[in-house]
Symmetry: D2
Subunit: 325 residues, 4 copies
């Protein structure tokens, strides 16, 4: 028989992402609408271990759907990687009567959720990361906002790059994944995109392309470099300038990509996924992760989800080349 859930906990863990607040709001309000008690846990698994746990009402999540960051704060928690930490977390769930837990974060956070599930706490993961690097889902909360933030910043870099007829190398986030970079490559109309997942153009090929572009009359070049690619943005810019004589600047967009008011896509997915996570708990499910796959919301076993592989779209990669002619 499925476990009856009375109190639902919610935490955000790992790197923050726009839309985490909208997810918290959806968890809290869906749970309240089903007559459950809800508690918010601060600073990810740290707050679970230390008992930084607080009851949340409907008004506690008023006026946050449009806010960046996370009102519950987030952190990585080294202690929770070890079995003792996990055991303390599970005990604290019992102390606070938490029989269902929603974990908003990435793969690392889901590993923690899986451990708690093994210790008898029903847990559901919701994918929240700007990097889109969770294999079981086509979408992770925060990605769309991060791409739009990067894209709009790069539109501005392009203005000045065009005025000065320069080459610009812009580095975007994504850790080991190139999704943000590939999206910016296409949506900013970049001349080249360097990805961790692809054997990149060699520096020689890249420089030859820039020179050929000049020969064709193109007066500025935009190169998007993924954080996880093999090229260092600053060194690459220097090299391009040295060899071609074309003034070249590197910009590393940095942490601004993690913040800002979430886009409509992020608010929508956050609202749907947060609500579904509570539905799953109320159905007695545990050790599942909410996913969006081929236009549908689904859920996967966390262990299976963590074992999946993901690759970037070849069609999109090819498109980024065709459209930059």
């Amino acid at each position: 028989m499925a476990k009856q859930i009375n109190t639902i906990g919610v935490l955000t863990s790992g790197g923050d992402a726009p839309g985490m607040n909208a997810t918290i709001r959806a968890v809290v309000r869906t749970a309240l609408s089903k007559g459950k008690k809800v508690v918010g846990i601060k600073r990810g698994y740290n707050g679970l271990i230390s008992g930084d746990i607080h009851e949340m009402g409907s008004k506690d999540v008023s006026d946050i759907i449009q806010r960046g960051g996370t009102i519950l704060h987030t952190a990585r928690c080294l202690e929770f990687i070890k079995p003792e930490g996990q055991k303390r977390g599970a005990e604290m769930c019992k102390v606070f009567g938490i029989d269902g837990l929603v974990v908003i974060g990435g793969d690392g956070s889901f590993k923690g959720a899986e451990k708690l599930a093994g210790l008898g706490i029903n847990t559901i993961g919701v994918p929240g990361t700007i990097d889109l690097d969770i294999a079981c889902t086509d979408y992770t909360i925060g990605f769309d906002t991060a791409v739009n933030t990067a894209m709009e910043a790069i539109d501005k870099v392009r203005d000045t790059s065009t005025s000065h007829e320069r080459c610009s190398v812009v580095e975007v986030m994504g850790r080991d994944a190139g999704y943000i970079a590939l999206w910016c490559g296409i949506t900013n109309g970049a001349e080249a995109v360097l990805l961790p997942e692809k054997k990149n153009m060699s520096q020689e090929e890249l420089i030859r392309m820039i020179i050929e572009n000049r020969n064709k009359g193109k007066r500025h070049n935009l190169i998007i470099n993924a954080e996880g690619s093999s090229e260092d943005s600053v060194k690459l810019a220097k090299k391009i300038e040295e060899v071609t004589g074309i003034s070249t600047r590197a910009t590393i967009l940095g942490h601004l990509q993690r913040g800002g008011s979430p886009s409509a896509v992020d608010r929508m997915h956050a609202s749907m996924m947060g609500s579904i996570a509570v539905d799953l708990l109320c159905e007695g499910k545990s050790n599942r992760v909410v996913a969006y796959k081929e236009g549908q919301y689904l859920d996967y076993d966390i262990n299976e989800a963590l074992a999946m592989q993901k690759s970037i779209s070849e069609k999109r990669y090819d498109l980024s080349k065709i459209l930059s002619i």
Copy 2:
């Protein structure tokens, strides 16, 4: 044997939508990369009839991916609804050697494309409308930008509505469809959404909800009213104020929802769909419309596509109610 395509025409028709320029760019550059000649047709089918047709090179679509509107201009064309107009259009295609045509627009524009296909011109439709009211596809170019524009405007209305503890009625576009309204309802955290597709709350129910919200301590209410719903926004606001005594304001967002730099989602779909339209023409296909369905790009016969029905998501409609408690 599939018809060999040498010259591809492209036009935008009907109401404009952000991302139309990104689509034109993708059509032009994909066609050029395949060695085809490309011509741009001005003001939709009007320009086809009058011969306002111009060759386009790669530079003609430089620096437009981020621009709102359409460089080809757009219009509705009454003459093209009649058989003589269609025949003149087909003849003009022959005069300019256009053997493949990409039509960017909505259902009305696709009807024209279907007529041209019947007259021997290979045509492919690309869905471009902010209204999302094309049944065969989960996405239409322009929708995401329009939703974000409306949502950000409503976030601002909410600031002042909260400060003054008012009720706000905000009318969003969408013609006979409620997609923009439903998305704003969820992403702006509205207290109620009035849709054409749903038997709306009666005025009495709506007013009772507002009074109950006041009794619960909610100090402001946000009502999203779809353009195509049965309620007049100004009259509704007046009625709410009269009955409840709560200061109420109506805002009709209007045409700003059609403009602005396209979002990342719109630039991506525009690039993919524009490119796919050219691929289809080059494969000898005709009378097809490009669609995005369950995470995949597909194409449908235009006649079949026009016969399909679309409805709004019940899950999302229910969610809009649960999350506004």
Copy 3:
């Protein structure tokens, strides 16, 4: 001898404006840095009369500099227009020990402040209104954000107006003043601006201009209509379309102009003016309004300030005509 101030009250009154929160923050933190106690008064003079008054610490104004609206809420207060209401307000100041009061708002709010000053409460007004209609100052908090909001919305209207080769009539706020309209006229490159302060072009002159523009090859026209002008936007659009045959749309931007995160100019003026208001109170001054005049922060006697007249810049009005050729 100047009165010693121990407790400073702050309230926002009248129509809200972006930057009010930044002003409150500056008042609170400057007062605290001088060792004063600070209390926030809710809903303008209503909260003063009803005693809705709460002590504020430094953290109460954390993370609000970038928020639209006002955390203290605002309202118009009919009761405070009458002498009894004013007397009750002054008594409540004594009950809460408020010996200095900062009133953030417009002329109407300053009249109340002047009454309180007459009843022995030291008061300082800070100009906060999007309308810029306070005669003694070149700047009022909220104006720059409102202009940018309107301007960006009109940039979007222009995209679609250009695509469709339409005429657009856009109505902006400003009550009886035309400052927002004039700024939008120049910064959006409008073909005409209709202001309350000017004998406008007659409908005949306006329509003749539109036809002449068409004859010159201009394919779209943008008319900015101030809320306080003598023309009704919807009727004017209808008239233009009737006479010229050019498709014409009216957009009334409405309350979104009051909200949104304040611009840098608004945050800066808000921070400076809020801080100066506290400085003036601590110097024992009363019945003064903070002003920004010819690049300097000054203060005026409220009665003198209320008696001043303001007119729009002729140079700017002329410029709006020259640049729209």
Copy 4:
């Protein structure tokens, strides 16, 4: 007798700034409205020397008031620093009949204008630089947009910095001047601002402040570092993290600060100053620079202007400290 002006040239020089296009538009349209011929010169003084000079009509500046960058392109020109280069420039003016020249740029560009004036070409400088480092004027075109771009980016950094309870060091542009940094310091509510004009807090003082903030319960710190200050942002962040144990990240905003659609303030000053520059030429003036001083538009002799000194506002610097408590 004042020289009669028939043909006016316009160029943009040095670093680009948002609003340069709006300035070009104002120069072109004001000159045309006075019956003058206008020519645009490409890539600053390079185009003057090489004769890359083109007549401009009213439509050439349509739809550019809202665009970032400069349609005339810009560059630094080493050749023009030498007398021969200047002589060639003056000769090219005669070849193209340019008897009045508007130079949009910074101090370096004005030095070139002064040389041309000495060679008989009437020249007027218009201050266009994001750095605000021109002594004779309170405003330079581009500053407001750059500050808003930086401020909005830093608002986003703050979201993630708050969620993670981190310290953020953000480096903003400004070359040897700290205006952008000081404005961001105040408008973003930073805990500290490091400026070139001030003997900064030592690293020890800064770190002590961060620790004291932690002791007071402040969970995140924002440090704005001006490009021209004595601190290296990356090294400073590393040092703070080492000593305090607080996770600290450096972000160097970079070239995005130069781009983007100009703000209302920039479009307004650009329109006014560009128009005034033409007025001055038509009055026969030369070797002047347009300035905005204490709320008025004025003009100064270029040599006098270049000799002036500018300092940052002490009041504002003090305010940045008071409001960050």
